[in-house]
Symmetry: C2
Subunit: 243 residues, 2 copies
């Protein structure tokens, strides 16, 4: 198999598994958890898993691998930087909205915030992601950014990007696990350890999330799939002044 064919098969799998993650988390919350609202009820909480899985994991992962698509290598890099930054901004906004949904639900239901390990890891993930986005904007998109800063930032940006992916998978899995113990052992009368259909479905969602995270990690790690930086200018706007 040609390297690019091999890439596109893996990339296609990545997109399909990502889509399945969004479908499964939406279906779980609408079929078993009662659907969606923005009224401080449990239905508002349901936005939290949907927005975090969609934003912090799936859109984030798709944005992370965008430079690996060989199709983009034949084109100017700057527009693809804008696509990368734009998708990352979308991922960040969805994540912040997802946090807002759960904080607002907690306020209405008088549940304390930020006590569980899931919430500690999750907030670290989003804060790290926000810093990463702002530094990425300053370093790689603003024309006034000095070359030494870009050169220093790049390996840090790549490494922190991978770290956010790890934290994102960890936050999603610990959150779904926690929610299943809460909701199944609570009011519904069903218990998690009897593995009712909802439990099986949400566990499969968790496995899909892990699979998506690992496929993104594999694409990012594989050297032959990395952007041939040497053949292009990494900093197309470097000669312009910042006004």
């Amino acid at each position: 198999m040609m390297p690019s064919v091999c890439f596109y098969v893996t990339y296609g799998l990545c997109l399909c598994v990502g889509l399945l993650c969004v479908l499964f988390v939406s279906c779980w919350c609408s079929q078993w958890r009662g659907g969606f609202a923005w009224d401080g009820s449990n239905l508002q909480f349901n936005w939290h898993p949907v927005l975090m899985v969609s934003g912090l994991l799936v859109v984030y992962g798709i944005a992370a691998v965008i430079y690996r698509v060989p199709f983009t290598w034949e084109q100017r890099k700057y527009p693809w930087k804008l696509v990368h930054a734009g998708l990352m901004l979308l991922a960040l906004l969805l994540s912040i909205l997802g946090l807002w949904a759960v904080f607002d639900f907690h306020r209405a239901a008088e549940i304390p915030d930020m006590y569980s390990l899931h919430s500690w890891v999750g907030i670290c993930t989003v804060v790290m992601f926000a810093f990463q986005w702002v530094l990425g904007l300053a370093g790689f998109l603003l024309p006034c950014s000095p070359p030494w800063f870009r050169a220093m930032l790049k390996p840090v940006h790549v490494c922190v990007g991978g770290a956010i992916l790890i934290l994102s998978v960890t936050s999603c899995i610990s959150g779904i696990n926690e929610e299943l113990f809460f909701s199944l052992n609570g009011a519904t009368g069903e218990v998690y350890d009897s593995l009712p259909l909802e439990a099986k479905f949400a566990n499969v969602l968790g496995i899909l999330i892990v699979a998506f995270g690992l496929i993104v990690f594999a694409i990012l790690s594989r050297r032959p799939w990395q952007h041939p930086e040497a053949n292009e200018s990494a900093y197309p706007l470097l000669s312009q002044d910042c006004t």
Copy 2:
């Protein structure tokens, strides 16, 4: 700072945080969860977090970065392969013992096995780790292993090694989060959302686990810290026959 000084500072931090993870999980289980026994009681369960964090995370992480230590580059590679494989075997055996502890406790307490998402992700981690170890032995230590197999296996081995690290952090965090909801909202009378001292302590353990995973990931990712393969024979026993 010289690259190797920078490495050794990060490596020292990695070892310290790893040691703290083992101390914190042991202290949590002995101070708040009643200590250890092998009698089917809750005290047997306590071996599970200690053995998984120590084996699947800390020993695994230290074994994974062993080739990055510049001190080893001046020496023959084969003995360091044995150290890597030996530490990985220790990590695997501790993990299997950790699984045995929880399955045996479940059997005695008549609790069903393998229903939570944590258990699904955790078992995938250990199974993947066992396959990785056996394939690593067959590919890199047995002298009869054909060169094409070693060459094909190497990038897969590196990538799957990173994937196991991600799964290991995810399993540990989801497990500690689950155990805190079980134990604090159960018999003790304390509730997790009031953040008693135990909850704060175990949450800090979770953050240490995440920090350790990310430091190992950073060491593995940084190209200047990778083994200068080109200067050495990667397959010192290749010319020998397998008998």
